[in-house]
C-alpha cells in the first residue's frame, strides 16, 4: 500500500513562514493606510454610529406591524406567523374586535427578539401583510431593556416611523364586508324579504 507522508508540509519554506507573511500583511496595511491618509484611495469603512449605513430595501431587520388606512393594527391574529416561526418567539392572544367586519384582532402581540433568528418566515406566512421585517438593524441594548417587543412597540416606535414612514400602512386589499354584518339576525328577519 502507498502512504502519503502528511507530517511535513512540502510547501514549507521561509517565504511561507510566520514571520514573512506577517510582515507582508503589515506592509499591505501600511500601504493602504498611507494611500487613504493622502486621499489617493477612498475608505470602505462607515463611521457608525455617526454615519448610518444604507442597506437595501429588502433588508430583514427588526419587525414592525403594519396598519390599516384608519390607523388600526392590520393583523387579524390568525397565528400563521407564530405557527411558522422556527424559533417560537411570537406570542399572540386573540380577541373579538368590536368591529364585526374585522372580527378577530390581536389583544397582545409579542416578539421575543432575543429568540428571533430573523429568518423572515413570519413575513412569508402572513396572509394580510401585517408583519414585516424592517430596515432597523441597530438593536443592541443593555440587559435591563425590555427584550420582548410588545404590540405597541411594534406598531408605534419612532425608528419605524422615521425609516418606514407612510409605507407602514398596508395597501393590500381588504375583504369587502356586507352592511348586514352588523345585524343581529339574518337579514331575512329584517323587513319584508323576497323569497322565503
Amino acid at each position: 500500500m502507498a502512504y502519503v507522508n502528511v507530517s511535513r508540509d512540502p510547501e514549507r519554506n521561509f517565504k511561507n513562514g510566520y514571520l514573512a507573511t506577517s510582515l507582508l500583511g503589515l506592509g499591505t496595511t501600511l500601504v493602504t493606510f498611507t494611500k487613504q491618509v493622502f486621499g489617493l484611495e477612498e475608505s470602505n469603512t462607515v463611521q457608525w454610529p455617526e454615519v448610518e449605513y444604507q442597506y437595501s430595501d429588502r433588508f430583514k431587520g427588526a419587525h414592525f406591524l403594519t396598519k390599516r388606512p384608519d390607523g388600526r393594527v392590520r393583523c387579524t391574529a390568525c397565528f400563521l406567523c407564530a405557527t411558522n416561526c422556527p424559533a417560537q418567539c411570537i406570542t399572540i392572544v386573540a380577541g373579538e374586535s368590536p368591529d364585526k367586519g374585522v372580527e378577530k384582532y390581536p389583544v397582545r402581540f409579542e416578539i421575543d427578539i432575543l429568540r428571533c433568528v430573523f429568518c423572515g418566515y413570519c413575513e412569508e406566512a402572513c396572509p394580510v401583510d401585517a408583519i414585516r421585517l424592517g430596515p432597523e438593524y441597530s438593536m443592541a441594548g443593555l440587559a435591563e431593556r425590555k427584550w420582548v417587543y410588545t404590540k405597541d412597540y411594534l406598531l408605534e416606535r419612532d425608528a419605524v416611523k422615521r425609516k418606514v414612514g407612510e409605507k407602514q400602512t398596508s395597501k393590500k386589499d381588504e375583504n369587502v364586508k356586507h352592511d348586514s354584518v352588523d345585524s343581529s339576525l339574518p337579514n331575512i328577519h329584517i323587513g319584508g324579504s323576497d323569497g322565503h
Binding site: C78, F79, N175, H178, P186, I188
Partner: protein, 493 residues
C-alpha cells in the same frame, strides 16, 4: 333472498345488511368517501352532492350516502372521473365561501379545507362577486353563526330536529340567497348546543367557549372519559402541550355509551384542569409545605390510632384503582377497616335523566366505588345533607376525598365547613373555595386528565382513563399518597 348483500368497492368485496347504502358499505370496507352532509348519527339528506361514486352500469355518478347497495354492485371511488367530479363539486361549494380561513376557528379541522388540499382546483374559474351574508351572529349563549361560511349541508337543522327535537334552526330563502338561521325570537339554548359546532363541516358554527382562544393545530388530543356525570361519555381532551393548558373536550364515538354526542355541561370539564384553577402545594393550617411533610403529618396523625378513630369520607369521583389503593393502605396502617362515609350532595337527584345523555348523578364513578367497597366488605354510611352520623363517631382523624368536579356539589361550601370542624380534618382535592381553607391539612391531587384508571358508568360499563403529563409535577393521586403514608407509618412505628 338473503338479507345480506355483497358488493365490491374498488375491487374489494364487502358484505353488508340489505338496505344499507354504498356509504355504509364503504365505511365498513374502510374506504373513505368524501362527504359533507352525511353524518352517521343523523338522517340522510343527500344535499351536498359531494360523495359521488361511479357505479358500474349506471350512466352518471351516484351519491354514495343515498344509493342503496345491491348484490354484485361494482363501485369505484378513486377513478379520474370521480376525482374530477369532486374537484368541480368543491368549486361550486366555494362559489360564495368567504375563504376567511385565517380568522376561522375551524381552520385545521375543516372538511372543506382538507378536501380542497386533496382535490381542489386551486385556480378558480368563477368571475362573479361572492354573495355576502351576515357574519358573527349571536345565536345563543354558546354559539356564533357565520352564514357566509355555511355550505348548507343541513346537518345542524337535522340535529335540532332529530337529536334534541328543539327545531330552532332552518334554511331560509332560496338559491344563492339561502341562509341558515334561527327562527325569529328563538335562540339555541339546549344542553347539547356545542355538538352543532362539532358536526358543522365548515366554520359556520363556532363555539364561544373556544372562539379565538387557540388554533387547533397546536392542540393534541387524549382519548379519555368525561367525568361530568354517571353516563361517562367517551371524549377527546384537547391540550396545548407547550403551554400545558387544556382548551376543550369533544365527543368520541362509542355506540354503547354516548353515540356521537356529549352535553354542554361535559364540555366545561377542562376548566378545573388548568393551573390557575388548582391548588399547587399542600397547606398545613394555611402554610404551604412540601408533599413529604404533608404525608408525614398524616402518618403521624393516624399512627397508633385504632381503626374506628379514623373516618374516611369518599366522593364518587375517583377511579376504582384509587379507592382500592387507599383502602388497602389504610387497612395495613390501622390494622382494621376505618369508618367509611359516602358524601353525596343534598340537592342531588341521582335518578334524573334528560332523555339524551345527561344524568342527575354528577359523579362519574358511583357504580365503581360501590363495587370496590363491596369487595372490601365495607357498608358505607351515606352523608347527604345530614352530617350527624360522622360527628356521632367522633373520629380523631377525618380524611375527606373531595370532589374534583365541584359543579356537581351545589352545597359544597356548607358541607366543607362541616367537615373542617372535625378534629384533624384532612382534605384531598384541588378546591380553592373559602370553606376548604378551614381544613387542618389540604393536599392537592391529580385530576382525571392526569391519571390512568377505571370509571364504571351507571350501566356497569368499565372505561379506562388515559393520563396526560401532570400540570404540577409534585402532585400525585390519592392512592400514591396513601401508599407513601403507609410506608411512613410503618417505619415510624
Amino acid at each position: 333472498m338473503s338479507n345480506q348483500v355483497t358488493l365490491s368497492i374498488n375491487n374489494q368485496s364487502v358484505t353488508v345488511p340489505a338496505g344499507s347504502t354504498i356509504m355504509d358499505a364503504a365505511q365498513k370496507a374502510g374506504v373513505s368517501v368524501p362527504h359533507f352532509c352525511w353524518h352517521p348519527g343523523l338522517s340522510i339528506a343527500g344535499v351536498c352532492r359531494f360523495c359521488m361514486v361511479k357505479v358500474e352500469g349506471m350512466p352518471k355518478l351516484q351519491i354514495a350516502c343515498n344509493t342503496p347497495a345491491s348484490e354484485g354492485m361494482k363501485v369505484d371511488t378513486v377513478s379520474d372521473e370521480v376525482k374530477e367530479t369532486h374537484k368541480w363539486a368543491l368549486e361550486f361549494h366555494l362559489i360564495n365561501h368567504p375563504l376567511d380561513c385565517p380568522i376561522c376557528d375551524q381552520a385545521g379541522e375543516c372538511e372543506l379545507q382538507n378536501y380542497y388540499m386533496k382535490v381542489g382546483k386551486y385556480q378558480s374559474q368563477m368571475e362573479d362577486q361572492k354573495v355576502l351574508k351576515p357574519k358573527a351572529l349571536d345565536v345563543g349563549d354558546t354559539l356564533v353563526l357565520d352564514t357566509e361560511r355555511c355550505i348548507l349541508c343541513s346537518r345542524c337543522v337535522r340535529f335540532e330536529d332529530e337529536v334534541t327535537k328543539t327545531s330552532t334552526l332552518g334554511i331560509f330563502n332560496r338559491g344563492d340567497q339561502a341562509t341558515i338561521g334561527t327562527y325569529p325570537d328563538r335562540k339555541i339554548k339546549h344542553n347539547y348546543s356545542y355538538n352543532l359546532a362539532d358536526i358543522c363541516p365548515v366554520g359556520a358554527f363556532t363555539a364561544k367557549d373556544f372562539r379565538f382562544k387557540c388554533r387547533v393545530w397546536f392542540l393534541k388530543e387524549t382519548k379519555t372519559v368525561c367525568p361530568g356525570c354517571s353516563t361517562g361519555c367517551n371524549v377527546n381532551l384537547f391540550q396545548n402541550s407547550n403551554q400545558r393548558e387544556y382548551y376543550r373536550l369533544k365527543p368520541r364515538h362509542n355506540a354503547d355509551v354516548n353515540g356521537h354526542w356529549m352535553c354542554d355541561t361535559g364540555r366545561t370539564m377542562y376548566e378545573h384542569l388548568n393551573a390557575s384553577a388548582r391548588l399547587a402545594s399542600p397547606l398545613l393550617s394555611g402554610q404551604s409545605i412540601s408533599s413529604a411533610a404533608a404525608l408525614q403529618a398524616v402518618a403521624d396523625a393516624v399512627k397508633g390510632l385504632s381503626a374506628d378513630k379514623v373516618a374516611l369520607v369518599l366522593t364518587a369521583q375517583y377511579t376504582n384503582e384509587e379507592y382500592a389503593g387507599v383502602l388497602s393502605s389504610l387497612k395495613t396502617v390501622l390494622k382494621g377497616t376505618p369508618k367509611v362515609f359516602v358524601w353525596r350532595d343534598e340537592s342531588e337527584k341521582a335518578d334524573d335523566f334528560d332523555g339524551i345523555l345527561f344524568r342527575g348523578d354528577r359523579n362519574p364513578n358511583t357504580r365503581g366505588m360501590m363495587d370496590v367497597l363491596k369487595e372490601h366488605a365495607i357498608q358505607p354510611t351515606m352523608l347527604k345533607g345530614d352530617f350527624s352520623a360522622l360527628a356521632g363517631t367522633s373520629p380523631e382523624v377525618t380524611v375527606v376525598m373531595g370532589p374534583e368536579i365541584e359543579a356537581g356539589y351545589p352545597n359544597l361550601q356548607k358541607a366543607l365547613s362541616r367537615f373542617s370542624e372535625m378534629k384533624k380534618a384532612v382534605y384531598f382535592g384541588n378546591s380553592l373555595t373559602d370553606a376548604a381553607k378551614k381544613f387542618w391539612l389540604r393536599v392537592p391531587v391529580k385530576t382525571f386528565a392526569e391519571k390512568s384508571g377505571t370509571f364504571v358508568n351507571f350501566n356497569g360499563v368499565a372505561q379506562k382513563l388515559k393520563a396526560n403529563p401532570p400540570v404540577f409535577t409534585n402532585v400525585k393521586a390519592v392512592d400514591e399518597y396513601f401508599a407513601e403514608v403507609g410506608k411512613l407509618a410503618h417505619t415510624a412505628g
